[in-house]
Amino acid sequence: MNTVFTLCLYGVTVILLIISFGKDKKKTRMALKRGWRIFVTVLPQFGAILLVMGMMLATAPPETIEIIMGKESGVRGLLAPAFLGAVAPVPVLIAFPVAAQLLQNGAAVMPVAVFVSTLTTVGFVTMPLEMRYLGKKVAWMRNLLALLFSFVSALAVGAALG
């Protein structure tokens, strides 16, 4: 699925580039230079995020999620998976199948839902980069609100699916 998205993105980009090039060669070159400059500016931060991700995957295999999850019940049982999702920069392509495995092994729906929610919407490792673009205040508020609403979303999924 991700491959389809990447291919579409390449297709659209190539078409836009051709149109741009046809209209104005100089401007197109300027656009490419601009994109390159923005890329180089954020590269160190991206590198750091990817490195943290690598360390996490190397020291804690995906099965660790299984150990951390599902020991306690009720709202307290949601705290550990929520925290795990918020701090672990794990790509969803790795995390979703692990979450699916958990559900198949009989884990409760709510902890899995809160984990999926915080994993995708809250990112403490990526907050320095977020602050660089959105400022401290917005970055903090967005992450804290996303954390809070992850519980709401998990409760809804839990209530709907029992």
């Binding site: 490419l32 160190p44 360390m55 190397a58 979450a99 990526t126 673009y133 959105l134």
Partner: protein, 178 residues
């Protein structure tokens, strides 16, 4: 100097941590670098077109046009465009921050930038089938439905709290030459 530390501090810290890891647990340290190497390649392949598009958008789209589509006065239509733009992507939130930066530079309303970012994180149309396959249709449907409401709630809650000074600062850090 401060800018330099800000730019490379995080990377230096992460590298140092990885070196420590290598010394304490040589196997994990090597595995981490191997993971990172593979991730970097996948990341570059995924991100190359994004940065080309950022460049094209910066050069071709006039500020006035962007303000009309996603700016202060764009209303419901602006929020809808932001939501759709966010939900058609399948990249992690942090990867789209440079896109958010260019949107802010072009005068996109902060609330709409947040709708874009939040939508890209929790309602990813290209990944829906994958989510349904892994976690089931019910799970995915309820999660997405609830999250559509949450996305707008978060964006407009933050927008309400921001002062004019906060806004100026955010537009400042993403302005010309940033």
């Amino acid at each position: 100097m401060k800018g330099f530390a800000k730019r490379y501090g995080f990377l230096a810290g992460a590298l140092l941590l990885n070196i420590c890891l290598w010394i304490v647990l040589p196997h994990a340290g090597r595995a981490s670098l191997a993971f990172t190497g593979r991730n970097v390649i996948a990341f570059l392949v995924n991100m190359a077109p994004v940065f080309v598009c950022i460049g094209l958008l910066d050069i071709w789209v006039e500020r006035e046009t962007m303000v009309k589509i996603m700016g202060e006065g764009a209303g419901v239509r602006g929020a809808t465009v932001s939501f759709l733009l966010g939900s058609v992507t399948a990249l992690p939130l942090y990867a789209l921050l440079p896109v958010a930066g260019i949107l802010i530079k072009k005068g996109c309303r902060i609330a709409n930038v947040l709708v874009f970012l939040c939508a890209s994180a929790s309602v990813r149309i290209p990944l829906l089938l994958f989510e349904i396959a892994s976690l089931g249709f019910g799970f995915t449907a309820v999660r997405c439905g609830v999250n559509i409401v949450i996305i707008f709630l978060i964006a407009f809650l933050i927008d309400r709290v921001l002062t004019d000074k906060d806004r100026e600062k955010i537009f400042g850090i993403n302005g010309e030459g940033a």
